[in-house]
């Protein structure tokens, strides 16, 4: 039962991280792609640091340092902020590589027909890059899920933490650990399966 609650926590935290991290990564990537001065450099530094930062250390920093500058934060928001900051950096790189590979001729054609940059992005660029980025984004989502037990260090009870608790109560930790392993496998499998079916649907719709 505790494991089921842990599973809900793991899934909801991951979904929150995805909901914030994927669009934020796109915004960061656009900032670098458009070479907006100063902001682009800040994003580059942020990505470089976050890619080298263990999630455990990031969660500890957010949870303990934010109250120090006058922003009180509970474990669950701290977990969501950390997961989002972490995954946004990796998603930024995924979006950026899709943007860098995007044919320049199409952007120029959109400009020539009088589209504003926003309209061109909405109708020309975005519909193509999200399909190219999808496999890499889903791969990053599975990494996010496998990293999520880091939030247990500030007391969030996810699958892993729930399994440890049950093991400590029953003095037989192996069964809850094995059930937890299966739960993670199922969650990861659902995301990979969803990606595959979106891809099939897209191939059928656009036939390429």
């Amino acid at each position: 039962m505790a494991l089921a609650q842990g599973a809900v926590a793991t899934v909801l935290l991951s979904l929150a991280g995805i909901a914030v991290g994927v669009p934020a990564g796109l915004v960061f990537a656009l900032i670098r792609w458009a070479k907006i001065p100063i902001l682009a450099q800040i994003v580059a530094a942020y990505v470089s640091v976050i890619r080298a930062t263990p999630l455990v250390t990031l969660v500890l920093l957010i949870f303990f340092a934010l109250p120090g500058i006058g922003i009180p934060v509970d474990p669950i928001p701290a977990a969501i902020i950390s997961l989002s900051l972490n995954t946004a950096a990796f998603n930024c790189e995924i979006w950026r590589s899709a943007l860098n590979d995007f044919p320049k001729a199409q952007v120029e054609a959109a400009e020539a027909t009088g589209m504003s940059p926003v309209v061109a992005f909405r109708y020309i660029i975005f519909p193509q890059i999200w399909r190219i980025s999808l496999p890499a984004l889903v791969n990053e989502i599975t990494l996010l899920i496998k990293n999520s037990p880091a939030v247990a260090i500030v007391g969030v009870v996810d699958i892993t933490r729930a399994a440890v608790r049950i093991g400590a109560q029953t003095y037989d930790p192996l069964p809850p650990f094995l059930i937890a392993t299966v739960m993670y496998a199922v969650i990861v499998f659902v995301f990979v399966k969803a990606q595959a079916s979106i891809e099939t649907a897209m191939t059928r719709k656009f036939d390429f």
Partner: protein
């Protein structure tokens, strides 16, 4: 905020001990996981169907489990089967085993795209079996896979931070200790993150240098 950093600087000894531990734990785990990963890659490329299937199941299972869960299984779970580790060896064992699965997959990927002529030329010169792998295939694999292997090493460095949860005195653990004694969360964890960043830049530097050497050899 500056005051926080000066307190952390006063206790830089602890931070540096943590840094040292993180570096050597990551180094040993990298070596062990590369060796085990090479063995797994050999098994994946072997002619025995059963061996191939068994190793495939092991690798896929490892890639589903979060690292922390594996560390818990090794540290808390295995004693009930009669295998007992202290926290440091449990940490190194789980890091090596976990990343060996990824290393195995990386090396297999490089092996599949390796030109057949390499192995054939080796055989023509009289290399067989393990010697062929060790002297001909393995060096080309490592050179071809260096950038991806480098990413995995960075992953290992970051995974060591999980070991603070089983009380291994690595960098994050020491930063945590300093912060809980003097309440300097910002200084302690930002210092730790800066050190992690330095380690990762160093790994990236080694990767670039190796690629440069590989280019010269070609």
């Amino acid at each position: 905020m500056l005051q926080e950093f000066s307190i952390v600087l006063d206790h830089k000894d602890r931070l540096l001990i943590g840094l040292g531990n993180t570096v050597w734990i990551a180094t040993i785990s990298t070596i062990l996981s590369t060796v085990i990963g090479a063995a797994l890659a050999m098994a994946l490329m072997s002619r025995h169907v059963m061996l191939r299937r068994a190793v495939r199941v092991f690798i896929d299972a490892m890639r589903c489990v979060p690292f922390l869960l594996l560390a818990y299984i090794v540290y808390y779970g295995l004693p009930s089967l009669g295998v007992r580790f202290d926290n440091l060896s449990a940490g190194i064992a789980s890091l090596s085993l976990y990343n060996a699965a990824y290393m195995g997959e990386i090396l297999r990927g490089a092996w599949v795209s390796l030109p057949k002529e390499y192995a054939e030329a080796g055989e023509a010169y009289g290399f067989h079996g393990f010697k062929l792998f060790h002297r001909i295939i393995m060096p080309s694999l490592v050179l071809a896979a260096v950038p991806v292997l480098g990413n995995q090493v960075i992953q290992i460095v970051k995974d060591t931070a999980f070991l603070t949860i089983i009380a291994v005195p690595e960098l994050t653990h020491e930063a945590s200790a300093i912060q809980s004694m003097y309440y300097v969360p910002f200084g302690a964890f930002v210092a730790a993150i800066a050190l992690y960043w330095l380690i990762c830049r160093m790994v990236e530097f080694v990767v670039q240098y190796t690629e440069h050497l590989a280019d010269l050899r070609r």
